[in-house]
Structures are given as structure tokens and as C-alpha cells.
Assembly symmetry: C2
Homo-oligomer: 299 residues x 2
């Protein structure tokens, strides 16, 4: 794979992940059909599969194997998907479309969307625990499960979600927005990299570097999202541009302008890369390419 | 404790569990205050703490220690609490009161109730993983985490929840109602007993017996709930009697009458006890008493 372009790498791994996601969904009996359908509808709705690819890339960067990383890769995508389903609900963002398709509650109803999200979140821990069946030691898998709960839970992603919701009544300071981005987005990205590192047998120092990389690149990714929302092209993104502005949400460019936002994206990305450089991973190249891909995206 | 009555045993352990629950909630920073409050509001709302007590009782029945069982005891109560918060939402049962207090969404709003439920569910896996810090081997804790995800997830409690929701459009067969009771209620009770057994070092045969006990007593408990809903006294139960009937929900007595329902409660309880008798646990007495308490309750 190392000669292929990063977009081919992403495409190829995304395909592999989709095969795994489909087979990691719970079997038919005794799962009610409509629940399985509602889970699959959102889980198999496409997307770049960034988080699971980061799990795999970090594992491979540390000399680990793709197969060992797949259960946790699937788990993090289930957590990401549940958060989107609940985020889209009428009581939260009230979105009718995501990635050009009707949102879960528009197809299955609000009650089923809540339960499908609950089911995906719960099943993510089942999927993650499956890493032990692929040669990852039990104590390593347990550390990963514990961190998934931490980075996705009240101290992490859900905390960011709550702050985002409260922020809709009006943010007045950049550090409030940074808090939201760090927890709503960076935490799950940092988890993905650290978990991959654990699977690949990284040292404590390397795990810290992977976390620093994830936190910084995750924040850069989210600031870039803010920037694209101001300057982006509606067709490429598949959602309404200026949608944040319409909802009176404030963004990085709102606080510090476009140029300074762009400078911070570059600086955070470089900080992340520097941490990886110092950690001397076995094969770090794809991580650098992924960082550039994530923050350079116009898609 | 062995000389005390079962109701003293329950009261005393419930107090201990409440201390642990409070301290197992995530600390303040970086958790948004309102999220922590919403989680604590429902988690600390009283209740009999049946599931965590079953975790502890099963651990002790197998010769295990209270302290080792507490993290998983807290986890199962968090899962139970999240399920009540989501169940009460307007899109689901639309309940304004639970245990005589306003439901979570009536106090904190619908969006926060959804997120507080998500946070409790996620944090439950963090809490459960903490058993490894109390001397439970990592592979045992990992088995417990995996089973928590299984029994609480799409194959378990969420599956039962979905079936219950679909059933509101009219159940026509007893086996449909049995499916709902088994998954919505028994699964988490069976999990609690099996997890306690794992913590106490039970053999595979003993784990099976604990599961059989949990499944049967859990179903008996839920049939008893159906019976109480028909004949119970409003004051004792703290909720409107005949509420199921008002919502046109069908119950065990609806299908097979009160007498046959009562007979099945007795039979299922005896089946559960018989499994425990055959498994030769070190100290099974409290499990028998708990079974009688659960199905004999008028509270």
C-alpha cells in the first residue's frame, strides 16, 4: 500500500471497513428487524470512515496488523454514527438530511432513532471487546474499552455535545468554542489514534504522542470545517453552506477571522506532526499524509 | 449480615451502593455542570437498587467480595437508569413522573435528557472497567464488559424496548409479550447475576445456573409487575395503577388471567431456585431470599 496515494489508501481501507461494519452488526434473531435496519441505515450511509482509518493507520504505524485493529475501528465508527443520529434529532439539531440522505428519525421515526443510537453505542463496546479474539491481550483491550468510554462519555464527546447545545444560546469567548471542538470532535479522533497505538504495541511515550497528534489534528480538522462553512462550495460538501451562520452559531472565523483561523490550522497540524516525529514510530508516513488530507480537504 | 432480614439486607446494601454511585459519577471539570446534574438527578433518584444488589449477592454467593463487585454494580444501575430516562421521553412513553418525581426531560429538557442518558450508558462501561482496579483479572472484566454490551444492547434490553414500542400498536400473542419481558427486564437481571458470579470466581456451570436463575426470576418479576398493575394499590406503588390498561397495553393477566399468571410466577421462581440448588454455590441463601422478595413484593 505504501506507494499508493493517500486518497487511494483511504478509499481502499474504507471499503474494507464497510465489509467489517456490516458483518459486525448483530445477527437477526433475537434482534427486531426494524432495529437492525435502523442501525444499518445510518452505519452503512457512507462517509469517509476517518476515525476507523485512523485506528488502523496508528496500529500499522506502530507495527501492528490491520486485522487486530478492525474490531476497535468498527467500534469507533458505531460511536460516531450513534452521535450523529442523536445529534440530528428534533430535540437537538433537528436536521432532515445528512450526507444527502434523510436522517434516521425522518425514516424510522424519533423513538426508533433514539433506540437505534442507543443500540449502536452499546454494541460498539461489544465490537471493541472482540479485539481480544484477534490476539490483542485482554488488559490492552480493557484499556481501550475504558478509554472509549472516557473519550466518548461525559468527560469527552457527550460533554462537548452538551456544551455545543448550550452554546447555541450564544458563545462569547473563543475558549468556549475551543472546548466544544476539542470534546465534540478531537476526543474521538485522539481515542482512535491512541487505541490503534495500543493495538500496535506502542510505548507509553508513543501513546502520548499519538494522543497529542489526535487532539491537535482533530482541532485543526474542526477549525477547517468552520472555515469551509464560511467559504466552501455547497455542492462539494453536500450540505447547505452558511448553515452554521443561519443557526446563529459562531465559528473560529467569527472570532479570529479567516486568515488567523487558517494559520491556526497549519500550526496545530505541525504541532501534531512534530509529536509523531519525536516518538519514532516504525512507519509514521501515513499519519503525516492523513493529517494533511484531513486539514486540506475541500470535501 | 446473614442474620438480618432480607429487607434490612437490601436497605443496607442500597445505601452502600448509593455512596458508590455518587462517587463513581464523573468529576466536575471538564464535565459541563448541567450534564453532571442531569446524570445525578436520575441516578440518585432512589429506587430499590435491585440490579446492583443482585451483582453483589451473586458475587458473595460464590465467595467473592463486596468491594470487587461494586464497580459492576454501579455500571448496571447506570445502564438501568439511562434506559428509564430514554423510555420516559416524549417520543417513547412520554411520562412526566417517575417514582413520584418529575422525569429527567421535564426538569432538564428533552435534549439534555437524551444526552444525560447517552452519558450514563457510556460511563457505565467506564465504571465496569474499574473492576480491574479491585483485583478482578482483566480477562474476567473484559468478559463482563462484553456481556454488559450484549445483554443491554440490540440483542438484549434495547431489542426488548423496540419490541415493546412496536407492541403498543397491539400485541396478539403471549410469546410476543414474553419476548418483551425477557429482553426489556430479564436480560439485565441475568447479566447482573452472571457478572457477580464471574467476580466471585464461579465455574462455567455455576455461571449458567446464575443466568437461568436471573432469566426466570426476571421474567417472574415482570409478570408480577403486570399482576400488580391490575390489582395493586396506587399509594404503595407510587404510580398510577391501571396505567398500562389506560395506554391499552396488554399484560400477562390479559392473556392468561390472574390465577394462571400467579401460577407462572411461582413456577418460574422455583425453576430459578432449582438451578441454583444444583449449582452448589458457597453461600446461596441470599439469592433464594432475593427471589422471594422480588416476586412477592407489593411495593
Amino acid at each position: 500500500m505504501s506507494d499508493s496515494s493517500i486518497s487511494d489508501y483511504i478509499k481502499s481501507y474504507a471499503q474494507r471497513i464497510e465489509v467489517e461494519l456490516l458483518s459486525s452488526l448483530p445477527g437477526r434473531w433475537p434482534v427486531p428487524d426494524v432495529l437492525r435496519e435502523a442501525m444499518a441505515y445510518s452505519l452503512m450511509a457512507g462517509g469517509k470512515r476517518i476515525r476507523p482509518i485512523l485506528v488502523i493507520a496508528a496500529a500499522e504505524a506502530c507495527g501492528g496488523k490491520l486485522e487486530a485493529a478492525l474490531p476497535v475501528a468498527c467500534a469507533v465508527e458505531m460511536v460516531h454514527t450513534y452521535s450523529l443520529i442523536h445529534d440530528d434529532l428534533p430535540a437537538l439539531d433537528n436536521d432532515d438530511y445528512r450526507r444527502g440522505r434523510l436522517t434516521n428519525h425522518k425514516v424510522f421515526g424519533e423513538a426508533m432513532a433514539i433506540l437505534a443510537g442507543d443500540a449502536l453505542l452499546t454494541h460498539a463496546f461489544y465490537a471493541a471487546s472482540g479485539a481480544a479474539l484477534h490476539g490483542v491481550p485482554a488488559d490492552t483491550v480493557l484499556s481501550i474499552v475504558r478509554e472509549l468510554a472516557e473519550y466518548a462519555g461525559p468527560r469527552g464527546m457527550v460533554g462537548g455535545q452538551v456544551a455545543d447545545m448550550q452554546g447555541e444560546q450564544g458563545l462569547t469567548r473563543l475558549d468556549e468554542l475551543e472546548y466544544i471542538h476539542l470534546h465534540k470532535t478531537s476526543d474521538l479522533i485522539a481515542f482512535s489514534l491512541k487505541a490503534g497505538g495500543r493495538i500496535g504495541g506502542a510505548t507509553e511515550e508513543q501513546l502520548e504522542a499519538l494522543e497529542t497528534f489526535g487532539t491537535n489534528v482533530g482541532l485543526a480538522f474542526q477549525i477547517q470545517d468552520d472555515i469551509l462553512d464560511v467559504v466552501g462550495d455547497e455542492g462539494k460538501l453536500g450540505k447547505a453552506v452558511h448553515s452554521d451562520e443561519k443557526q446563529q452559531k459562531v465559528t473560529y472565523p467569527y472570532f479570529i477571522g479567516l486568515d488567523e483561523s487558517r494559520r491556526q490550522v497549519a500550526e496545530l497540524t505541525e504541532l501534531g506532526k512534530e509529536a509523531i516525529r519525536r516518538a519514532r514510530l516504525a512507519n509514521p508516513e501515513r499519519l503525516f499524509e492523513l493529517a494533511d488530507y484531513l486539514v486540506g480537504r475541500d470535501h
